[in-house]
Amino acid sequence: MSYFRIAFQTMKDYWKMSIILTLIFMGIVAMYSVVYPAFKDNLQDMASTLGMKFSFIRGLEYMTTYPGFLNMELYQIFWILILGMLIGFLASSLLSKEIEGKTIDLLMSNPVSRKQIILEKYLGLIPFIVVINMITLFTVYGVTVVIGEKINLGYLIMTHAVSVPYFLAIAAVGLLISVIIDEKIKAGIITIAIIIGMYIFESISLLIPDYKFMGYVSLTHFYNPADILISGIVDIYGVVVLIIFIIVCLIISMMYFDHRDIAVS
């Protein structure tokens, strides 16, 4: 029996997509950072009109500073929501693509256990999450230096490092859906709906103090780029919760896949 072959193949299969997404994110980062000097003076006005007391975006009150601006424009939306959706979408095809395309039949004729297939498929997605993180980190820092702004490099690195368990948790949700739902597109839509739903729950919890508890159902609750990037505060408990969540998702995925039929449709 051999190990990591499926993981390696999965990585290769998603390689092109990873490059494209990474380039798009580099572009988005560069765009936002570069426009900051031009925006700078207007931010004060924007801040006062927005009425920050009822803000549903975390760290909005710091939007007049450069890290606060990055947090609002880049991390709170493109990073945790949009990239989260993309990673969830990719993860939701890990198994569903093989089941729908019926290539799973041949894959499973090899001496590999079902648990191993699940685990390796998941592992195959990790390099992408790490690479897009690092490249985005370098781009943010590079552009910051170029436009002559200041950012705490340590905070920036922490923001990206802690996003890894967050994205892994998103990927674990996608994997679980992809094990249960056989159609790739359906699995993708459900996963994206879950991620958007979680984001909305978190927003409501921020907006209405009475509904604060709703935030706990969202993965975003356990990873706050605003705190890390602006103040350097890392929510260690949040990281622990994310890691436990990942493990639970993987175990459920493996157990479910172990017992299901791979029927001909």
Partner: protein, 337 residues
């Protein structure tokens, strides 16, 4: 679970214990209270000559309330080409997918080379090659990349690969999505045989092949048989089963209706007598299942052919045909009930 009797080393009391192969248990002797450990023996290495390649016992698979297969009991001997015959929807694919662990059996047991498909499926697959009925390959890979991937998954040298690539030529540097149906089928055959498996299970493998290629595939299978490889061949095409298989199982509505040597099956089913007589066909005292079609009398005889010829001799015979029962007739016979 195995049950074993252990003898206490000091007081010789016999103690019965239960456990799984390889399991280590602690025993306290009920007589002298001496403590000790006992390791259950690993699964016995079964001598190859006595074990069937495939053995099923009342294998049953229901999809919810819908029956897939029910109480299938058969065995495939080592080194034979075993035909698995039945029309579409009769349960051939369900049987194969259950044997391969893609479907979980509802009840019953199946063993491949003595190993249970419930507990040992990963180990079993080391010795199996498989050609699915609905063959789907990774379209984005080239033929070579695909084969390399599967060789790496099995961690073998793919000893037969070169030979197979010679017999079944494929454009290995092109991506599989550019392949024709026949090319894909050839690639499916190559991947199933390349690791020199002890048994190859095929679900209607010839469906995408042109007649010429079908012919060379039959030749190939016969050659593989002489090497001692066991082949499980499902099909709804009777002529090919007739051509290459040693034994055949006929499946209908998820149940086995016949399992015979092809020759025995034919012999048992006897001969077909077709005769045209000058007199009114209705007046001939034929057997109950006699049919009359366009003035031709037609019936099947198994052993007492002499008696029927003598009966016929009393009439004026215009034309007479006596033919061997072929598999097709047998098949229709089993399905007409």
């Amino acid at each position: 679970m195995i049950t074993q009797t252990v003898t206490c080393p000091s007081c010789k009391t016999r103690i019965t214990v239960q456990g799984n192969p390889g399991e280590r248990i602690y025993i306290t002797c009920p007589q002298c209270f001496i403590k000790g450990t006992f390791i259950f023996p690993e699964e016995k290495l079964i001598t190859k000559t006595t074990v069937n390649a495939i053995e099923t016992q009342n294998l049953t698979k229901f999809y919810g309330k819908n029956k897939g297969i029910e109480n299938l009991t058969f065995s495939v001997k080592k080194g034979e080409i075993f035909g698995f015959l039945g029309p579409n929807g009769s349960g051939k694919t369900t049987t194969i997918r259950t044997l391969l662990g893609l479907l979980k059996p509802t009840s019953g047991e199946a063993y491949i080379f003595g190993r249970s498909i419930r507990d040992d499926i990963v180990e079993i697959k080391k010795n199996i090659g498989y050609i699915p009925g609905d063959l789907n390959l990774y379209g984005h890979l080239t033929g070579k990349q695909f084969l390399d991937y599967f060789i790496s998954l099995r961690d073998t040298n793919a000893t037969l690969l070169d030979e197979l690539l010679h017999v079944f030529e494929i454009p290995s540097d092109r991506t599989i999505k550019e392949y024709s149906k026949g090319m894909k089928q050839k690639l499916g055959i190559i991947q199933a045989f390349m690791n020199d498996p002890e048994i190859v299970i095929m679900d209607e493998p010839t469906s995408g092949l042109d007649p010429l290629l079908q012919q060379s595939f039959y030749e190939f299978l016969k050659k593989e048989k002489t090497k001692g490889r066991t082949i499980f061949f499902s099909s709804h095409v009777l002529s090919e089963i007739d051509k290459i298989c040693d034994r055949v199982a006929i499946i209908r509505d998820g149940s086995l209706v016949a399992l015979e040597d092809i020759e025995t099956l034919k012999r048992k089913s006897g001969k077909i007598i077709k005769a045209k007589i000058k007199e009114n066909s209705e007046t001939f005292p034929g057997p109950e299942d006699m049919k009359i079609k366009d003035n031709w009398i037609q019936f099947v005889v198994s052993d007492n052919i002499d008696q029927w010829i003598k009966k016929l001799a009393k009439f004026t015979i215009l034309d007479l045909e006596i033919s061997e029962f072929n598999l097709e007739d047998i098949f229709i016979h089993y399905y007409e009930e």
